[in-house]
Symmetry: C2
Subunit: 188 residues, 2 copies
Amino acid sequence: MDRRIARTRSILESALNQLTLVKGYEAVTIKDICDEANVGRSTFYAHFTSKDDLKRRGLEHLRHHLLARQQAALAGGSSPQDRALSFSLVMLEHARDHAALYKALVGDRGGSVALGMIREILGELIRTDLARLDMERVRGPADREATVHYLVGAFMSVMIWWLDSGAKLAPGEVDTLFRHLSLEGIDV
Amino acid sequence: MDRRIARTRSILESALNQLTLVKGYEAVTIKDICDEANVGRSTFYAHFTSKDDLKRRGLEHLRHHLLARQQAALAGGSSPQDRALSFSLVMLEHARDHAALYKALVGDRGGSVALGMIREILGELIRTDLARLDMERVRGPADREATVHYLVGAFMSVMIWWLDSGAKLAPGEVDTLFRHLSLEGIDV
DNA sequence: AAGATACCGAACATAGTGTTCGGAAACCTG
DNA sequence: CAGGTTTCCGAACACTATGTTCGGTATCTT
């Protein structure tokens, strides 16, 4: 690929992230991004159709990262229980590593683009997880899709709460918490 | 209250809902709303600061509705298990009754305002629920806030999935599904 | 080195937001 | 039902952002 293209796209992605930290995703305009990146506005439109488009493409990196880590977890885990929901810890660690950006994203409504995409990605991972569990145990394929959405929503919500409240707990602790609620249910 | 005020606000709320059905929440402009409602644009700004403001005030109705129904459920239920998570069925029935509007809301990102507010409302209800459970049983107040967010996220996600996939199941079935996942965990 | 391709920047059209203000219309009060 | 009060209308204005076009310039690939 032409180096100019790679450079332009990369710097635009970085600029959006940087500006998101400063003023929140929604408040960032395309002109802002171009100024921050030192790129002509017409050039922006030569690569991306909108700010959301730019954001979505940037999140492809995350998708590949998570998929790779899941492969490793599925291969290496000891018991089925350990291997299940492996996305949880990986995702929480990623969130902690980019905590400021995540918080800026979820802070305002603008997060819906990024969060929507992350939900998609997690949905894929969880489907894989559940299918694997179904193979190893006897269990009807009933309600699997409902369970996927149940888990995605629960996880995202807990993660955002964790980030918003300052991420005081370690990723491992939140992971334990989430897995316990998921596998055992809330203790009535 | 001056009748003109009540009438203007009410008709503006209806106009927003109507237009949301037609073109989706985000695509609705303030001019659209005023045209649909036959209200001057300056009048709009005399009552609301923005489209989101209008939406939020409209959702106060839902809040009161849900709170009232929860009171009834808490008073009337037989076992503690039955009384817990009473918001679930009420909310699902309300969603079914306004399915088209809900689907239009969650379809695009614009839903984040409404959904964010609904999450808030449900959070309150669940906190009440859990506190009640804590009183009736012996149980440490540990992680209660995490559980609240876990349940809100899981429920919203399941509800949206249900609506998006055409609401083929009855509210009662989805309720059962959700309660089972919440109380027993996913069956590994 | 040469041809292809990307980038720049300025200009233009379009569309939405939010404010102001004077006159007309509707409302509540006594 | 007459009074003063309040709301509503609508047009005008300033402002900001989006998305497109195009000729000239700089940079890349082969």
